[in-house]
Amino acid sequence: MSPAAEHPPVTTPPELVLEAGRAEAHYWRDLWRYRELLGFLAWRDIKVRYKQTVLGAAWALLQPAVTLVVFTFVFSRLAKMPSGSVPYPLMVMAGLLPWQLFANALTSASGSLVSNTHLISKVYFPRLVVPLSALAVALVDFAIVGVLYVALSAWWSCWPDWRLLLLPAFMVLGLLAALGAGLWLTALTVRFRDFRFIVPFLLQLGVFLSPVGFSTSVVPSWRLLFSFNPMVAVIDGFRWCLLRGAQPLDAGGLLVGILVTVLLLATGLWYFRRTEKGFADII
């Protein structure tokens, strides 16, 4: 079995050993090697997303636009909630932008393994490629919704200042939160299809448990508990970046949000890696 000592392997390629429960020695290097596949899968999903639809990419605009109108009506006109110095619709939009990013990323990441069943049962590649590529589709929709935001800020002539430069940091935070939760959900869905039904339900509740339609300033007493929802930090961060700091950033809440996100991501990765080798057998 072992290479004989008198025949030193001179130009033989590295040996790959397959054994039960053996940790992949080169997992992260492999993942890097498959980065082109990641790109191709993302490109495929983006390309076919709006095929055979009449409205095409307008769908990415329609949903946030309608939500914006409804939320402004319900929270501002009916509930008379405050929005500080900025127009209410603009504040809602600054919250919808990250929320849509998170919701789309979570939806596509958590369904990603099951919708790529045919690949998983027929080809080897680091399975992490699949949920990661799912995030890219959410980014494209984000860019489209971003255009809507630009239009609204032009209407109210409320342009962001230098704080805009920190926006990518909050985008990454939102994406990591979605990835962390998505890794858990997609790995669990391979085994238990129940989780397919949990995601829409979770997002339905989440949009009201996150400060999307209202400002965080209206929840003073439960602030800390509220911050355990990682999207609170992301949405507050977006508003801080886009609305010239009209709403001050709460450092404690931000810290809690980051910690929760890191925890979610670390455990999500752990569970995904632990179950990944069995995916092909039970999917």
Binding site: M1, P3, A4, H7, P9, V10, T12, P13, P14, E15, L16, V17, L18, E19, A20, G21, E36, L37, G39, F40, R44, K47, V48, K51, Q52, H118, L119, I120, S121, K122, V123, Y124, F125, R191, F192, R193, D194, F195, K277, G278, A280, D281
Partner: protein, 417 residues
Amino acid sequence: MAGPVITVANLGKRYQLSHAVRHDTLRDTVMHRVRDWLGRRSGAATVEDFWALRDVSFTVEQGDVVGIIGRNGAGKSTLLKILSRITEPTTGRISIRGRVASLLEVGTGFHPELSGRENIFLNGAILGMTRAEIRRKFDEIVAFAEVERFLDTPVKHYSSGMYVRLAFSVAAHLEPEILIVDEVLAVGDAVFQKKCLGKMESVARGEGRTVLFVSHNLSAMRELCRTGVLLSSGQVAAFGPIGEVVSRYTGLMGRRSQYVRPAPAPGSRPVATWFERVAVTDAAGITLESQPAGESAWLELELVTREALKDVQVAARVSTQEGVAVLTTTNTDVSRQGGRLEAGRHVLRAPLPAWLAPGFYSVTVAVHEPRRQEHASLHDVIQFEVSPGTSPSSALQDDRWGLVEPVIAWQSRHFQA
């Protein structure tokens, strides 16, 4: 030579088949756990271990072309899945030296909405090629697949032949050190199949690559491979030169040229109707292993029924090894109406047509009231071989293709110009 490129040692793969208790929904698992905690061990006997592979060991040298053969369910696909790292072994160890590419299915990851051009890139990336590599071989791939004119058409509009050609072509241009191929030649038209075989041959012979190859096409195996592995019920039944392994396999099949009903296990549910014996025999009723050249053979069924059956039909189907049905015949073919079978023992004989092409066939038999009720049936119960030179047209000594080889009398008329 620096030793084997693939070493498989005591490989085993266990699947757990759960019978009554399925854990496909969370509720089931939770309920099950709760019941276990309460001390009522309900699930003890419900999970059954199934070893798809057991104690499999063999080695592959560099440049070898290895054919893996075995019946359906022998563990061939599981072995390839483990070698391609899709699933993990339960026991044992495999060491592989070299870059592996596996082709377990034609067109994995093809997206119907994308064009041929786009799918070449996507599929290439899925199979492990880099973008630069695909770009370099792009023209070659397109030429091999013969789809130049349809490159920008979504593949959902392709004919199945074009689809397969394109998919195989991408895979054929991979440059791994070790290539693993599962049964892909079962698809596509005959001309393209020959082209694929030629390509695989040049890959193996000319470029010194190692190929592991699963197919039911024994003649292709004999042509392409040097070494063979015969799997039977998850274990290695033979390993060695391909000729020997193929004859072991056909021997294994030949052993079932006659079926005799085993004595029913004590306590098993009694049945009213059953097949006592199924065999291929000569004119005198003697069981044949294969249908020899120039002699007629008969399919003989012995059937027992405890009660008289009304409006029934006894049917037999002859299929190729690949599962393609060649013909179906019933004892009512001539009378065209269901008959009555009295209680007791019946022996039925059907002459086998002399125009089957040489190869291995399997027989399925049944007694049923058409579209109403099945009284007894046995799937792929026996196998028989039609040896070369059996059909009348084989006397013609030309290399014709087809599942059947009838001699057809042509008519012709001649007109003066």
